[in-house]
Amino acid sequence: MSADATLLADLLGRALYGGAIMLIAIGIYAVVARYNLMRVLLGLVLVESGVNLFIVAIGYRADAAAPIIVGGVTDVAMVDPLPQALVLTAIVIGVGVLALASALLIRVKETFGTLDTREVARVLAADPAAAGKSTGSAVAPAAARETANAGSAS
């Protein structure tokens, strides 16, 4: 490998870390400073991608090959395959959590009529007995269960 190519690969390694940290920062900003729950979820996705990129970057080596052994053991340097295996798991978990979050997001929109997290927090912080009665406008099946719940609680 020529000196130029090594330098380029080295720069790429640093860019990976920079990109990962930037993604995490943007994501955390969205989660903390935005009030629309859809944007908050997108922020979570960004944080997750940033963290995954960070983990892949840890195993990266500028002058190494992909960790695939073809036809017996070779003596070339390879990038660390373990972080890649971890990221694979983390991505799958992330997809599952995101699916659950989307389902809850739809239910929140249906029952609250808004995705503003301040509005949701205001309702949740209100007196629980009063909150139980104010859910008459909820979607039909949820409302029925709600009434049953409120009935057993009083």
Binding site: V47, P83, D127, P128, T135
Partner: protein, 484 residues
Amino acid sequence: MTSGANTLVLPIVLPLLGAFLLPLVARFGDGLARALGIMLVVVNIGLGWLLWSGAGTEVAVTALGGFEAPLGIVLYGDRLAALFVMVLAVGALIFWPKAENGGVKAYTLTLLLVAGGSGLVLSGDLFNIFVFYEIVAVASYGLTASAGNKDGFGAALRYLVLGSLGSSLVLIGIALIYAAAGTLNLADIARLAEDKLTGTTGLAAFLFLVLGFGVKAELFPVNTWVPEVYAAAPMRVTAILAGVVSKLAMVVILRLLVLVFHDPASIQLLMAVALVTIVAGEFAAYRASDLNRTFAYSSIAQLGLVALALTIPGTAGILAAIGIALHHAVVKPAFFVIAEKWRGPIAGLAGGAKVAPAAAGVFVLLSLSIIGIPPLPGFWAKLVLIGGAIDAGGAYAFAAAVVLAATVVEAAYLFRVVAKIWQPAAGASPARFAFEDLSPAMLLGVILIAATLFMAPIGTALSGAAASAADAGSYVARVLPGRM
């Protein structure tokens, strides 16, 4: 594979398998699914007991798939892990979800919670801990929403946002540790911690891990979900989350402290977090105007006490942490049972002792124990904590003073409620309790009294568990024989 292999793998695998079978079994009737779920939880109590009695002579270690540590994934079942496998299963048994709150879906999620929680305390591998932590997290989000009402959905989504941010922080912490030490096996990291993890990287990793696991462990500043979720979730879910699941995250923090992060900087960091958690929790509980929120904030303060106990060096600290955690696991769910019926402002509870004398009696018993009146178990737990803190001296003496001050605040808000209950009713009197409504609280009250009577043998058993959990050397030697 050692002989204890099955008792280590089964508490995770059986409930996990059950969780996937339950929706299929439910096709033949919900009652069958309920019976199968409860049976699996009972089996887990038995497995935890086998693990506990086996760990007295030989701690079980299993390398999954036959790959030896540090390359393979290990499970480590000492008495601490066995204890919490049992506590989790007992909690799930007493507070098995009611049919009207989600039905089979809630049973499935409870089994997932039991599987993930058992994995969390048994795992000897950082990345596996992350995976089990996520299983526990997803199950708790689902259970929070299982009442199927507006508050449940809102609280679950806000909980999920904070929870996944926490999981990402855990993952960053794990990545930093892997970058520095090149391994994910806890025993292997413990071996290398002295060289590789004492500097800034180690402290940063610990900060991320404490913030991440702190979401479930209700530590400041990532515990904002607690009052919302505990008020919105069905009572049985709240009881499990507050009573047991928060302690499982503490067990992970305990392992990290004992094995990896025992340098002064990490200890001071956790101590600061713990003290702020205690003070913020007790004062918020004092300001709360309804029972549910009072107990939610008081739960935060109690977990702050557990975290503080963990910072005290040696076996005394671990023993205090286990003691307070177990005591809280008995007392707080019972409190939430009472809070479910007595919703609304505390001012409306006047006359409670007249309409529901049994509930009022249990409330007083629980209050006395959590404040720490001898001879109830809460007294002994706090005594070990304060004794250990004073023995350690220095900043710990200050911490002991904070704990005593917090106890005064705790007594103030609990006795305020007790006084209110014994006042004559003004206007509508509070709700009565049907026997089945109060029975979980009464059962826990009986456990509390039994623990008072058998304090000596329980103390000895817990001291043994604490001593073995505090011994990092034997953990490494057992997981990595011949590598010391």
